[in-house]
């Protein structure tokens, strides 16, 4: 048997039952690896129910810092009877299968191309502990202890982590520490030299942090000065609001009074949630809502109002697998059309695409500036993978000299000193963005009646065709302005003459970069552009025009980003090649690499650029 032998580069998968406390144990594992300075990328694959169903926690450890899902499992920790056989079969040849040997493996489990590591978790646990509730939890800690030995994970880090966790209840730390020890000892005594996988201390993580995207979004909103939140619970966006509340409670509670410098309203549904955000934004507070798929559909009427009445509302869409209720606990990037062109009539919305927690934080902060500058809805497109999993990320940075860009708002003094009559929808500056006022600003200037009906420049109702059309055209002018304000894409040039480009965004990026690197090693040079925003900045258009063939990599069935690109950028569709993945699991580098390689032979390379492509016959 070819045992897999690897250091700082392998995948461990934990197979558990949800609601049994495995999450915190598995998290402890990922944390420990991270603390050893080794990049780690955990993915929680959980069911849409609360207790009793299979759940997996897949941890990729990769010193090079490839953080996308890799696919394939080198070591499985199997503590869920329901999926035992499946888990057993899915281990890669040469891999390892750690299971609770209190019960024998079923007959059908007879592979000889991998190493079985039977540890009687239940038995060990029951022998050591008597409280049944504790037993369930500590069983998980025992296998972490065993892994510590098997994978050479620094035991003291685990020890410290547990101590830290129970800082306030040191009594509770004891049994946990004991369980760790039990696992470690058992593995050491029974499985020496068994496991070819190991973790070595490194400093590959540098000053990175480990954080989930939703916390970063919530924190970003706190830093951005958001004060009003309307929301309705929905997986996977709920934790954005929880994070906002946690951080806001911390930083925004008035010392003496205990009063809050924010208001979070759990609304009756998503229509109300975004209505609350719109009402607050209209009244001069920074306001947002967060939701997922079904919520986006329900918010569509209000998004149209915000577009047309020009109200700076921020929406965070943590995408999940659609359509309809779909797979609420699986990831996808499939709300692009539903958000970019939300609502009936002619509408276009700004989208931002963060790819890691730092960008979640940064784009959350930027979103409020952009929304207020553009007086338009701005939608942050995250997804379940980014939002609910921990990700390695550069540390968060805030420039204390940064001032909120509240956009074109007239205060009382400005109104007082205006020579002409102010009009809410007068395009004074020619950039399509007009001046607004907050209610209550001035006793007799600056009041207006906001409406979703057709209006003239003074916001009075009109059914005049010309006035209506002029307003709609101004909104297009604003759209042009928006393009110039969007965050710039990230480009990586592998070879300036390479005919191939790849374009991707959000959580697809990690796997895409890895795939592109792998292809480069095989001799296929591909330049990349990671998109951060819609509408498209000129750089994006240039990138596509510069390359003969562009792979558009995205996690949906219908190539939604490709459609946005073609529509807004007016490219020849033939040169945009879709690399799609939409089964709800995060995309892997391998999927991308294989799809691109399958596409390559069919692509006609513009004359004179062929030489860049060894081995490809067009």
């Amino acid at each position: 048997m070819n045992r897999i032998e690897r250091t700082n580069d392998f995948v461990v998968r934990f197979a558990n039952v949800n609601g049994t406390g495995s999450a915190s144990a598995n998290n402890l594992f990922a944390q420990a690896i991270f603390k050893m300075g080794v990049p780690v990328s955990p993915k929680n694959i959980f069911p849409s129910n609360i207790q009793g169903l299979p759940t997996w926690y897949e941890v990729r450890i990769n010193e090079q810092g490839y953080l996308g899902r890799r696919g394939g499992v080198d070591l499985t920790v199997a503590v869920n009877g329901q999926t035992l056989i499946q888990d057993y079969n899915e281990v890669l040849p040469g891999g390892y299968f750690l299971y609770d040997s209190t019960k024998k493996l079923p007959e059908v489990c007879r592979r000889d191309d991998m190493t079985e590591i039977g540890i009687p978790l239940t038995e060990l646990c029951n022998a050591a502990f008597s409280d049944p509730r504790l037993r369930q939890l500590l069983k998980n800690i025992i296998y972490i202890g065993a892994l510590s030995f098997l994978l050479d994970i620094d035991f003291s880090i685990l020890n410290d982590a547990i101590r830290n966790q129970f800082l306030k209840k040191p009594k509770l730390a004891e049994p946990n520490l004991q369980a760790l020890e039990i696992g470690f000892t058992y593995a050491r005594d029974n499985f020496p030299e068994t496991c070819g996988l190991s973790v070595h201390k490194s400093n590959a993580t540098g000053d990175a942090i480990l954080m989930d995207g939703n916390s970063a979004l919530g924190l970003g909103a706190v830093y951005a000065g958001a004060t009003v939140v309307g929301w309705y619970p929905i997986t996977p966006s709920t934790s954005v609001i929880e994070a906002f509340e946690r951080y806001a409670n911390l930083f925004r509670t008035e010392l003496e009074s205990g009063r809050k410098r924010f208001a979070i309203i759990q609304a009756e549904d998503e229509l109300a949630a975004i209505g609350i955000a719109i009402g607050a934004a209209w009244n001069g507070a920074r306001a947002f809502t967060a939701t997922s798929g079904p919520g986006v559909s329900l918010m569509s009427e209000f998004l149209g109002l915000a577009y047309y009445a020009e109200i700076p509302v921020v929406l965070m869409d943590v995408q999940r697998t659609g359509p309809s209720t779909g797979m609420p606990t699986r990831t996808q990037q499939s709300d692009l059309l539903a958000t970019a062109y939300a609502s009936h009539g002619d509408t276009k919305n700004v989208l931002l695409f963060p790819c890691d927690p730092k960008e979640c934080f940064d784009l959350a902060a930027d979103a409020f500036d952009l929304a207020e500058r553009l007086q338009a809805p701005v939608i942050i497109m995250s997804d379940l993978d980014l939002g609910m999993n921990d990700h390695i990320s550069a540390p968060l940075v805030w420039d204390d000299t940064r001032r909120y860009d509240r956009g074109k708002v007239l205060d009382a003094a400005a109104l007082e000193s205006m020579p002409e009559k102010w009009g809410r929808y007068l395009d004074v500056d020619g950039d399509g963005i007009c001046y607004r006022t907050y209610p209550g600003t001035h006793p007799n200037k600056g009041a207006y009646f906001t409406r979703g009906t057709s209006h003239n420049e003074y916001s009075a109702y009109t059914e005049d065709s010309g006035l209506y059309a002029r307003g709609m055209q101004r909104l297009l002018r604003k759209w042009e302005t928006a393009k110039t304000l969007m965050p710039a894409p990230h480009e990586k040039t592998c070879n300036p003459d390479a005919p191939f480009g790849a374009l991707f965004f959000g959580t697809t990026s990690h796997a895409a970069y890895e795939a592109v690197d792998a292809l480069a090693e095989e001799g296929f040079e591909i330049n990349t552009l990671r998109l951060l925003a819609f509408p498209l900045r000129q750089e994006v258009i240039d990138f596509i025009n510069r390359h003969g063939q562009v792979f558009v990599i995205e996690q949906n069935r219908d190539a939604q980003m490709r459609m946005l690109l073609i529509n807004e950028g007016r490219f020849v569709p033939e040169k945009l090649h879709s690399v799609l993945h939409f089964d709800g699991m995060p995309i892997t580098a391998d999927t991308i690499r294989r799809q691109i390689k399958a596409l390559l032979p069919q692509l006609s390379i513009p004359h004179g650029q062929k030489e860049c492509l060894p081995g490809v016959t067009p």
């Binding site: 000053d207 942090i209 480990l210 954080m211 706190v222 830093y223 000065g225 004060t227 009003v228 309307g230 951080y247 911390l250 930083f251 205990g258 009063r259 809050k260 410098r261 924010f262 208001a263 979070i264 309203i265 609304a267 009756e268 549904d269 229509l271 109300a272 209505g275 609350i276 719109i278 009402g279 607050a280 934004a281 209209w282 009244n283 001069g284 507070a285 306001a287 009427e301 109002l305 540390p395 968060l396 940075v397 805030w398 420039d399 909120y404 009382a412 006022t437 907050y438 209610p439 209550g440 001035h442 006793p443 007799n444 009041a447 009646f449 906001t450 409406r451 979703g452 009906t453 109702y461």
Partner: protein, 350 residues
């Protein structure tokens, strides 16, 4: 920064204690049908705001969609207004109120806008006790879409369209009382005498104040078979009792006899004097208020006036314990934790 009070452009017009004349509370010319009840309510709103008095620019007007929801354009031209989407005024009002607790929020809606598409938002804005006045201009039909029955149309009542309405009607006042609204009243667009003080009292109430104002639709629902016609209402109206509303600033001039008058002091210090006669029900007891409504309905009477009043009610800001400073006035200094705090967060995430 202070600004000069409005100049007296109409020197002949009387002004209120804030120096505003009635015309300062007016809006653009109405485009509703001549005789529409909604226009009378607009007028009552103008009168109430002039009388309280409020500073026009401190009022925020909100509405949904419908003939009724157009009216904010026809009053308080110096106030900001928000004509939102159908049935969703309460959520817009909630957000706006959260952003600035120092303004006065006045929402108007129609019976279609509230009792059908907006039912969920209506109930939940009551539940969170938003500090606002919520007026339904209730004509028992969908005026703007040409007269379909609404959910407040009484069973058996006939609009211009013809067939008697076969469905039970929803009594928004009873619903509001049951759901715990602190101030619930019913008025009639044709009775300005009662409506203006009702509006004034409602606007002085902290927390949600709900007013159901019967407002005949002359074009589609003012027929003899309609229970929301001028004639029908005039024939069946019954009041819980008269009352005086005395705003805080105003001196109390009349002395009320003990026993016949109940004084209810509002959060802002203004007082409502409820005058009782032999039949006057107690409107400060929820259970009784609900039961009386039902009883009058059984008798075929339409009860108006203050239907329920709980001066002790709270409001969303108090429930959430938000800052006393309007949230929309806070700046980076109060809102942004700064880079040092972020450093600490980074530390904890390493």
């Amino acid at each position: 920064m202070t600004f000069t009070r409005p100049s007296f452009r109409h020197p002949s017009q009387p002004t209120n204690s804030l120096g505003y004349s009635r015309s300062d509370y007016e809006g653009t010319i109405s485009t509703l049908c001549a005789g529409c009840g909604h226009d009378s309510i607009s007028n009552a709103i103008i009168q109430a705001c002039f009388e309280i008095p409020v500073e026009p620019h401190k009022v925020v007007k909100m509405s949904g969609i419908g003939c009724s929801s157009k009216t904010p354009a026809y009053y308080l031209g110096k106030s900001h207004g928000f004509n939102s989407v159908h049935g969703r005024m309460p959520s817009i009002a909630t957000g706006a109120n959260m952003a600035n607790r120092d303004l006065i929020y006045l929402g108007v809606s129609g019976d279609g806008d509230t009792a059908s598409i907006g039912m969920g938002q209506f109930i939940h804005v009551l539940r969170r006790d938003l500090n606002m006045t919520y007026v339904v201009m209730n004509n028992g039909c969908y005026g703007l879409t040409k007269g379909q029955d609404s959910a407040t149309a009484d069973k058996g009542s006939k609009s211009k369209k013809g067939a008697p309405n076969p469905f039970e009607s929803i009594d928004l006042c009873e619903l509001a009382i049951q759901l715990g609204a602190g101030f619930v009243g019913r008025g009639f667009s044709g009775d300005k005498q009662q409506l203006v003080p009702l509006l004034k009292a409602a606007m002085s109430h902290e927390g949600i104040a709900f007013l159901d104002v019967i407002s005949p639709c002359v074009t589609f629902n003012n027929t003899s078979g309609s229970t929301k016609s001028y004639q029908y209402v005039r024939d069946h109206i019954e009041a819980t009792g008269t009352f005086d509303f005395i705003p805080l600033q105003q001196e109390i001039l009349t002395q009320y006899e003990e026993g016949t008058t109940q004084a209810v002091t509002m959060h802002d210090g203004s007082v409502i004097y409820l005058h009782k006669n032999a039949n006057s029900p107690d409107v400060t007891n929820r259970r009784k208020s609900m039961d009386i409504l039902e009883a009058e309905k059984e008798k075929g009477r339409l009860l108006t006036g203050i239907l329920f009043l709980d001066p002790e009610s709270s409001d969303t800001h108090e429930i959430l314990a938000t800052s006393l400073s309007p949230l929309n006035t806070l700046t980076e200094t109060e809102l942004c934790p700064g880079s040092a705090a972020l450093q600490k967060i980074n530390e904890r995430l390493r």
